[in-house]
């Protein structure tokens, strides 16, 4: 997903256990995870322009620390257990997608995709 969004010129936040990385205009900005994901750069003249936030952290029963003011569009990977994501999914009317098991071809070669399929990405976020 990260590669896919960067390839489409999107601003992406990658939230790991220890660090949060911001992929913005060919650079990566790093901050400690404990500082959270507030105070992100805003797009001039556009009041609501959330940044993709890829969240791959086990927050156990608390869910990720997303507040009302977090200017992000979260994509969280998680087990199906709702305690891990319900804190923000209901509030932001998020979709729940069940991923199928990997197959042998994907395990060998990973994910194969076409850039043409990125038309769904919001062109307003393309930075280059």
């Amino acid at each position: 997903m990260l590669t896919r969004l960067i390839s489409a010129g999107q601003v992406v936040l990658l939230c790991g256990t220890n660090y949060i990385r911001l992929f913005y205009q060919d650079r990566v900005y790093v901050r400690l995870a404990q500082f959270g994901i507030e105070d992100l750069p805003e797009r001039k003249g556009i009041p609501y322009c959330p940044i993709w936030a890829l969240i791959d952290v086990d927050y156990h029963d608390r869910g990720p620390p997303l507040s009302h003011t977090s200017n992000v569009w979260p994509i969280q990977v998680s087990s199906p257990n709702p305690v891990r994501w319900k804190s923000w999914v209901k509030q932001r009317r998020g979709a729940e997608l069940g991923m199928p098991l990997w197959n042998t071809g994907e395990l060998m070669a990973g994910y194969v995709f076409s850039l043409l399929s990125l038309s769904a990405v919001d062109p307003g976020h393309v930075t280059r």
Partner: protein, 426 residues
């Protein structure tokens, strides 16, 4: 822009196995060993690599047996090449090619890891780069895992969509499946890999009937457990067919002939097909016991398979898509030996793969050999049995493509019957 250039720009491939930190070192060690090995793979001192080489040795052996079988098919049939086993074959290993090529060896190792540990990427890559350790971890998880724990996991998942047991992620996997009766998708639970399932099935077959029926009933009631219900039902049926019919309250189920449509037959029965068939000279399910006997259908010799009718064979080849077990019965008066092929399912429709015909012809060839040793001229026939619960009245069995191929010498085609096992008392 040329079309070629266009396609290279629009398609990106991200290589998962190749992106693992251990990949380069592991590949170069493997490559060196394969180059040194020639026709015989060497042994080394390193436990992990030795385990990997053992997997490759066994795969090489399996391929040799398979090739020998296919060659025999060809020899016996002249130009009618045995295509049935490969017609629908999408297996990575069969496409892998020579094993001394390191890329092919890696494909085999990934395939092996999926059979041992399932399809979770972390387990698969550990199963390639750290095979011995991954085996140990899974063996520990399975050591004390029993039906009660399986039920507890399903119950917890059904209530809160969570897995609680520390070992559960080594034994089961959850996956989304499309809705059957509801408007929304659901989650299902299954054993994580073929080999883990085999181990659990083996332990289930050693259980008593009552807790197994209770477990089956529970899995049928909860939507997440319907796949597991199928495996428990298979274990129950295997116990029933090998231990003999024991119920005093229910009459022993009788085989009912299935109708057939098409040159590659679709066998079916409906609610009107209730008359037991009297065409068979033997009882596939009987009161007497048959000794449960494991058979490796990919071994060079099917040495445990005899003409005696007191054995119930359960293949150890863990991924047979067409059948679950078989028996052999002889009728001296009609000079016929029947190989009964059992498919056990709780679904109303069952398919299968053409790959399943090859082991059936292997069994036929083996039986023919046994008859020749005895100077017997008896003919060998195959009869198919679909064994299913009696809570549904319609059942279908679509035979896979390849039904009419490779039948000149060992004709695997035969009649089909349905045996409905009573579950309505649950």
């Amino acid at each position: 822009m040329s079309p070629d250039r266009g396609s290279s720009l629009t398609v990106l491939r991200f290589c998962s196995l190749y992106l693992q930190p251990e990949y380069n070192d592991f590949r170069s060690i493997l490559e060196t060993l394969l180059l040194l090995g020639g026709s015989t793979l060497p042994t080394t001192d390193k436990e992990a690599i030795d385990a990997v080489l053992e997997v490759l040795r066994m795969e090489r052996e399996k391929v040799k047996v398979m090739e020998a079988e296919e060659n025999e098919d060809r020899d016996e049939m002249g130009d009618d090449i045995s295509a049935s086993a490969t017609d629908q074959d999408e297996d990575m290993v069969d496409e892998a090619g020579p094993m001394d090529n390191v890329d092919n060896a890696l494909k085999i190792l990934v395939h092996n890891a999926t059979e041992e540990f399932g399809f979770a990427p972390r387990d698969v890559y550990n199963g390639v780069f750290r095979l011995s350790q991954t085996r140990e971890d899974h063996a520990t998880a399975l050591e004390n895992f029993d039906c009660a724990e399986l039920r507890e996991i399903t119950k917890t998942f059904n209530v809160q969509l969570g897995l609680v047991s520390g070992h559960s992620h080594r034994v089961v996997v959850v996956f989304p499946y499309p809705p059957e009766h509801l408007d929304f998708d659901g989650w299902g639970i299954d054993f994580k890999s073929i080999q883990i399932r085999e181990k659990m099935m083996e332990s289930m077959r050693l259980q008593e009937d009552e807790p197994l029926w209770e477990l089956y009933g529970y899995f049928r009631r909860v939507s997440d457990g319907s796949t597991l219900a199928g495996w428990v039902f298979e274990a129950i049926v295997h116990r029933m067919f090998s231990g003999g019919w024991r119920s005093d309250s229910e009459p022993m189920p009788q085989p009912i002939r299935m109708f057939s449509v098409g040159s590659v037959p679709l066998f079916s029965i409906d609610s009107s097909s209730s008359t037991p068939d009297t065409m068979l000279f033997f009882e596939p399910l009987r009161t007497g016991a048959r000794a449960a006997t494991r058979v490796d259908l990919s071994a060079r010799q099917l040495s445990g398979v005899t003409l005696a009718d007191d054995k119930f064979y359960i293949p150890t080849a863990t991924n047979n898509p067409l059948f679950d077990s078989f028996t052999i019965d002889s009728d001296p008066s009609s000079r016929t030996v029947v190989i009964s092929i059992f498919q056990i399912t709780i679904s109303t429709a069952h398919g299968g793969s053409a790959k399943g015909y090859l082991p059936i012809r292997r069994i036929m060839r083996h039986v023919r050999g046994l008859l020749e040793e005895k100077k017997s001229k008896a003919k060998v026939e195959v009869v198919y049995f679909l064994v299913c619960p009696d809570d549904k009245s319609e059942h279908e069995w679509q035979m896979p493509v390849g039904w009419e191929k490779s039948t000149t010498v060992d004709d695997h085609r035969g009649k089909a019957f349905c045996i409905r096992v009573p579950v309505s008392g649950l």
